[in-house]
């Protein structure tokens, strides 16, 4: 049974359970982007064209937390290359960005990795052992991020992105099953 068919069956059961057909509704969502920790303030992120992608994966049966953490360490190391060194952030128009409060120019890698979270249940995934992996990118890094997450590693340029993409492929094939659920947090969305 395809994912589409499963979803339609679920919706049929959901609507039947309600006992009535609800009036169609679409409502814009006002996003709240967390700015704590390593993520700079939203206004800075938006001005730089920053984007965060959250992938929620289901681990294969028998995969331990230790194995995930080993992958995480190796994966984080792939980002630590000279070409991806921290640098002052610029707005998408090319101008310098300064923090409104401190006046400082934030320094970021253009492609960043924010870590993983293991959980038995996540609001973004069905019950089960899941792993959330977070990537962030700004400026030209947005295009790199899209390539890393969607293309065959050996086809990606610049070449220093290839080990990063290969690490993601390893995660997908060795530790995870099925396709990940994808959430895109784009701080350019109006709040």
């Amino acid at each position: 049974m395809s994912r589409r068919d499963r979803t339609l069956l679920f919706l049929r059961a959901l609507i039947d359970a309600d006992g009535a057909l609800a009036e169609p509704r679409v409502e814009p969502v006002r996003l709240s982007v967390r700015t704590a920790g390593s993520i700079p303030p939203k206004a800075v992120m938006a001005a730089a064209g920053y984007i965060v992608v959250v992938w929620t994966w289901r681990t294969k049966p028998g995969i331990s937390r230790t194995e995930i953490e080993e992958w995480e360490l190796a994966h984080a190391a792939t980002f630590d290359v000279a070409e991806n060194a921290p640098q002052p952030m610029q707005a998408t128009a090319g101008g310098e960005i300064r923090d409104a409060e401190s006046g400082a120019v934030p320094v970021r890698r253009k492609l960043a990795y924010h870590g993983t979270v293991l959980a038995r249940r996540s609001v973004f995934a069905p019950p089960g052992r899941t792993l959330q992996t977070l990537w962030g990118a700004w400026g030209e890094g947005r295009g790199w991020l899209e390539a890393v997450l969607s293309r065959a590693p050996d086809t990606i340029t610049p070449e220093w992105l290839q080990p990063i993409a290969q690490s993601v492929v390893d995660l997908r094939t060795r530790l995870m099953e099925g396709d990940p659920e994808v959430t895109v947090i784009d701080p350019s969305l109006p709040l």
Partner: protein
């Protein structure tokens, strides 16, 4: 106003993200960009918009909701939902070919 031969599909780049625990789905429209919450009815309609014709969608929608809505109610609800989804940029409409009638 939609025609039976119109084809309806999710717009390019739209990510439809089911949230089954909450009985709703989120649609991310990269072109705008915006995140939109869909209730179960509009979620169902968006799922059916996979390049099918309006006539096919009407048939599948009526079948799915037949236990809670009659044919006319289902059809009217579907059309209101489609209008909302098209306006939000989640679904695109491709006008169907008009049939020539012989003189």
């Amino acid at each position: 106003m939609f025609c039976p031969t119109d084809r309806l599909d999710r717009a390019p780049g739209v990510v439809l993200r089911p949230m089954p625990e909450w009985g709703l789905a989120y649609a991310y429209t990269r072109a705008r960009p915006a995140l939109t919450e869909l209730n179960a009815t509009t979620w169902l309609i968006a799922m059916l918009c996979d390049g099918a014709t309006l006539a096919e969608i009407e048939r599948d929608f009526a079948e799915t909701v037949r236990r809670v809505a009659g044919g006319n109610v289902a059809r009217d609800t579907l059309h209101r939902g489609l209008a909302l989804l098209v306006e939000a940029g989640i679904v695109t409409r491709t006008p169907g070919a008009t049939q020539e009638t012989a003189p």
